[in-house]
Symmetry: D2
Subunit: 339 residues, 4 copies
C-alpha cells in the first residue's frame, strides 16, 4: 500500500482527494493536513463536509515545517491542495525526500516565471522545483509524469480546453490567423470553499469574469503553443465546466479528418469519452471523465468543439489521482472507474 | 406626493423597497441611507444591485443622529430595513417627528420584552415605542395600522404562517390538544446580503435549521394565541417561502365549513389569492401575493394548508408598502398590483 | 384606450403579454385566444399559469377564421404569440383590417424566403405580408416600426446578439476576415411550454445545441450584414439569455473609440443599460432591459461583449410591447418601466 | 460471480442499478431489459444516459415472456425496476426459477390487497407472490431478506420516513393521541424519466402534492403500525429526499433516552449515519446513506427528526443492492461503500 498524505484537505478539492484516496485499493491515507491558521484545524473531515460524514477517522492536522520534512521522508505520495503561494513556499522542502509530490495549485504549471508576477501576484523563486516539475495533463504527458518527482496538476479550465484543442494543434490543423475562442462556464466550487459576497447564493448568476485577463489564459497558451481568447463564466451550479471552443481550421480539412484526429489522440484513454452528440454538463459531474464532441462546417472551415469535465475531479482531484497512478506504475484509471 | 426615506437601503429588502417606492404613483423617494460603517456608503444603488442598474439617481448616504432627527421632521414615511438593534436604538428619535415609521426588523413585533433577551440577544428599553407599535399583518390589523405612527412589519415566516392559521384560530376551529405543525422552506435571500460560508452557493442545500428554537416561533405564537411547532428550512432558491401547515381541527368541522372560513377572511383582500390547487412557490415569487390552499380529511380531522409568499415582498417590502398605503389613506394595494 | 387581442395566450410568451397588456395604462385587453386544438381552450389564464392566478377574467377562447376577420377589423393591436406556421397562415387575413399586427414568431423576420424552407421547414407563400413586415428591433428600426402595419418581433438570440453587434457593424469596426463568435446560454422557457423529455427537469443541464445550424443564425446574419458563428446552449435556469460575443476589430480601434460607439448608439434609449461591469443574468431577468458591457484588448484587437436579456421579455413580449408603443405613438417604454 | 439481470433498465433507477451492478465486485451484469413497447429498445444504455456514456456494452433488450422464463432459470438475481403493474404481472413467472427477485415497484410492499385497488388502481391477483414477498427495509428486516426469494424494495418516502420513525415506534415512545407529521421534499427524478408538462423544467417549483392521499401513506402506516399525516412535495432539484418529521413523545421521555434509542437501532449499520447536526440534502445525494438527526423539546414533548436520502439510491437502487447483498450472503454494503 502506498502511503499518502494530503495537505489542504479542508477545501472542496482536498476533501474530494480524501475520498478518492480512501477508496483507492492501493493507497493508504496516512495524513490529512491544513494550514496552521485554518479555522478547521483539528476538526475531523466529517465535521465540515457532510458528504463525508462517514469518514470520521480523518482529522485535519495543522501543518508545520517539521511536518513537511517528515512527510517528504515518510510518504510515497503527497498531494498539495493548497494556495499557490503555499505550494510555492513548501515545495523546496517537500521535494527533498522520497515522496513524489502532486501539486494542484498553479505554482508550477508554467515555466515562464514572469507569468507568476503578472497573473499570480508573487515572485517565483523555487526555480529548481519549477525546472523539475512536469505538467500533469495525464493523456498527453503520461511518460513524463511516470518519471517525475513533482507534478503540476493542470488547472480546471486548461484541462477542459487543452483536451479539446491539443489534437488540433498537434496535428497542425488550426488556421494561425484566427485565434481559438474558448467560452467556458464553471460551477461555483471552482472559487473554493470560503465566505465571499460574490459567491453567496443570491449573488450567483451566469456572468463572464476575468475577461481578457484570466490567469488560465497563459497556462492554456503555454501548453497549446498558440494564442487564444478565453472567457470564463460563473454558472449557477456547484460542479462542472463546459467549454465551448470555436476554431477556424486550415483550408480543406474535412469532417472525416477531424474525427480521425480525435480518435487517434484518445483511443485507449479510459478517461476521455468521445461522444456521439454534444455532452451535457451533468454527464460528467461526479465522474473523472472528459467528454468531447465537435462539429465542422466544411464550407467556412469553422468548427465548434465542446469539452465537459467535473472541475473538482478531472479538473483537479481525479486528474491528480491519474498522475499519482502513473507516477506509481499503476493503471491510469485505478481507483477512478470500475474495470 | 408623499416624501419617503429608506434606511438600510443596501440589503435585499431595502433595495426592493427602493424599487417599490420609485414605482409608487403617490410617493417620492427623498433619501436612501445606510449605516455609517457600511461598505456600500456613498455608492449608488445601481452599483451594488445590478437589477436596479437604471436607478442610478439613488445614492446610499451614511446616516447620522442628526439625519434621523431631520428625517423625523421632514418625511411623511420612513422605512427601516435595518438590523433589530439599529431599529431599536433609532426608533425613539425617529418617532418623535411627523414621519410615520415602518420598521421591517423584529424589534417591535412582540410586546413581551423577555422574548428579545431570549431570542434576539438584546435588552429592549424602547418601551414607549414598543407600546405604540402596531403589528403590520395588513389583512388582519388594517384599521390599527391606519391609525398608527409606528408599524412593526411582520417577519417573513410569521406572515406566511399567520395568513394560513389566523382564519382557523379566529373562528376557534383548532383542536387545542394538538399543536399546529409549521414546516417552511425559505429562499436564501432571507438570510440577508452578506458574506458567510453558510450562505455560499456550494454550501446551500435543503436543510432544517433553528429547530425548536427559531425567533419567529414566539412571534407566530403571540399573534396566533396558541403554541406551534415551527421548523424552518433553507432551500436552494433565492426568493420565496412555502409553508406547509398541518393542523388537527375540532371534531365535526367539515370541508365546506373550512372553505367558508377562508372565504370570509379574505374576500375583498386583493393581495391574498385563495387558490383552487396547492400553489407552487414560483406562483408568488416577484409578486406581492400570499397564495393559500388547503385540504381536510374529515375522518381524522387533520387538515393541511400551504401558504406561499415572496419573502422579500409579502414577507417584507411589499407588506411594508401595504402598511404605508393604509397609514396614508391609500388603497392597500396601491403601487403593488395593476387595477 | 387601445383595444388589444392576444393570439396564442397560453404559452410562456403569450401569458407574459397578457400581464403586460393588463398593466399597460393605455391598453385594454379585449381578447385572449388559443388554437382550436389547444388543451387549454376555454380555461382561464389563471388556471394554467399560477403566477397570474389573480387574472381570472381572461379566458382562452379557441380561435376560428371568423374570429381572425373580426379581430382584424375591431382591434387596434393584435399580438401573435403563435407557432411560425400559424402566423404565416393567419397573417394575410389578420393584416387586412385596421389592426396593427405584432408577430412574435419567426415567420416574417427574414426577407429571403429560402431560409424558411431550409431552417423552418415550410414554404413561405405570404409574400405580400413578408414585403410589408418591418423587423422590430426596437432601438434600431424605431421609425420604420412606427409606420408599419406588420411588425416581425425579433427572436430572442438575435435580440441579444444584434444589440451588441450592430453598433460595431454600423460603424464599420469589424475585421471582415474573422467572424464574430456568439456563444449564448438560454433559459428553458425559450423552448416553450410543452411536455418533452428534453425539457424535463432531470434532463436539463448546460449543453450546446443547434451547433452550426440554428435558425437564428440567418436572422442574425441578415440584419447584421455579415457572417457569424453562433452557438446556442440550454442552461439550467428558467428565464434569460446571456450572450458572450468575441470579435476582432479593425487594426487601431481603441477602447475609447469602442466606448463612444456604444454611447452613441444607445444614449436616450431607456431599455438599454450600458453597464460598468459585465452583467449577471439575474440583473435582467423579469425586466425589459438589455444590459451590455464590453472589453477590448487593444494589442490583439480582440474584444469581448456580453449582452443579457430576459428571453420572454426583451427577447419576446416586452420588445413586442416596445413595438406596440412605437406603432401607437406612445413612448417606447410605456407600461414597461416607471418614469 | 453472481449472474444478474435488470428489467426496466432505461429509467433513472434502472440505469443507476446498471452502474451499481457493473461496479459490484461479486456481480456480473448478464442482461439489461426494457419492455417491448419502449422507445429505448435496442439502444445501448450509453445512448440515453450520458452519465454512463462509457457503459456502451449494455444494450436494452426488449423483454418477452420467454425471456422471463429464461431469466428465472439462469440468473442468480433479477432486479425489477418496472411499473407496478408490470412487476405484478411478471412476478409469478419470474419467481418460479432459481433467481431471487428484487422488485423496486410498489406491487409487493403491502399485504393488504385493498390498498392496491384504492391507491394503485389495479386488482392484485398475485397472491402467492405477495405472501412470500419480504419488505426490504434493509436495516430492519435483514434476516427475513436473507431468507427471501422475493424482496419488495421499499418506496423512497417510506425509506426516509421509516428509518426515522421505527426506532421510536419499536421502543413505544410515540404519544398515540397525536399523529406523526411527515413533511418531505423530493427531487424530480422521483417522478421517473418521461415527458410530462408537470415535470418540465419551467413548471417545477416547490409544491405540495398528493396531500392526504399519497400511496406511500399506507406503506408507511403498514410498516410503522400507526397512522401518520404525510405530505410530499416536489422540490427544484434532481435527486434526494429530505423528510422532516414532527412527533409527540410520551410524557417524560428525555433527550438522552431518545439518543439511546437511535444509537441502539443503528450501531453497526454502515449505511445509516447518525449525524451531530441536521443534515443537508447534498450530504446524501449520490450516496447510499440515510442521514438522521433529531431534537427534542423536553417541556412540550415534541421532537423533530430529519431524515435525508438519495431517492434513486437508498430510496431505490442502493437499497435494492443492500437486499441483493443480504440475500446472497454478502456484507450489506458490498459494492456500495469502500471498507
Amino acid at each position: 500500500m502506498l502511503k499518502v498524505a494530503i495537505i489542504g484537505a479542508s477545501g472542496y478539492t482536498g476533501a474530494q482527494l480524501v475520498d478518492l484516496v480512501h477508496r483507492h485499493p492501493a493507497m493508504e491515507l496516512a495524513g490529512t493536513f491544513v494550514s496552521q491558521s485554518s479555522a478547521d484545524a483539528d476538526k475531523p473531515i466529517s465535521a465540515i463536509h457532510g458528504q463525508y460524514a462517514h469518514l470520521s477517522q480523518y482529522t485535519l492536522t495543522p501543518i508545520s515545517d517539521d511536518t513537511l520534512i517528515t512527510l517528504a521522508e515518510s510518504m510515497d505520495l503527497v498531494f498539495l491542495a493548497t494556495p499557490h503561494e503555499a505550494s510555492h513556499d513548501w515545495m523546496p522542502t517537500l521535494s527533498k525526500g522520497k515522496a513524489k509530490v502532486l501539486d494542484l495549485s498553479g505554482a508550477f504549471r508554467i515555466k515562464n516565471t514572469e507569468v507568476f508576477e503578472q497573473f499570480y501576484g508573487f515572485e517565483h523563486t523555487a526555480t529548481e522545483c519549477l525546472d523539475k516539475a512536469v505538467y500533469g495533463l495525464a493523456e498527453w504527458y503520461a511518460s513524463d509524469i511516470a518519471a517525475a518527482s513533482i507534478v503540476a496538476v493542470p488547472g480546471c479550465y486548461p484541462t477542459a480546453s487543452l483536451s479539446a484543442l491539443k489534437p488540433l494543434a498537434e496535428n497542425n490543423l488550426l488556421d494561425s490567423a484566427v485565434r481559438p475562442v474558448i467560452n467556458a462556464v464553471s460551477g461555483v466550487s471552482g472559487a473554493g470553499r470560503k465566505a465571499a459576497l460574490a459567491n453567496s447564493f443570491c449573488e450567483v448568476s451566469l456572468q463572464a469574469y476575468g475577461v481578457l485577463g484570466h490567469r488560465h489564459t497563459p497556462e492554456i497558451e503555454a501548453w497549446l503553443g498558440t494564442g487564444v481568447i478565453f472567457t470564463p463564466h460563473l454558472g449557477n451550479f456547484k460542479r462542472g465546466i463546459l467549454a465551448t471552443i470555436t476554431v477556424k481550421l486550415k483550408p480543406g480539412v474535412t469532417a472525416e479528418q477531424l474525427n480521425g484526429v480525435y480518435q487517434n489522440a484518445y483511443t485507449g484513454k479510459p478517461l476521455v469519452r468521445l461522444r456521439d452528440s454534444f455532452p451535457k454538463l451533468d454527464d460528467v459531474v461526479n465522474t473523472p471523465f472528459v467528454d468531447l464532441y465537435w462539429k465542422l462546417d466544411e464550407t467556412s472551415g469553422y468548427a465548434v468543439i465542446t469539452s465537459a469535465i467535473d472541475n473538482t475531479l478531472k479538473g483537479a482531484a481525479s486528474q491528480a489521482m491519474q498522475c499519482a497512478n502513473l507516477i506509481s506504475g499503476l493503471p491510469v484509471s485505478e481507483g477512478l472507474v470500475a474495470q
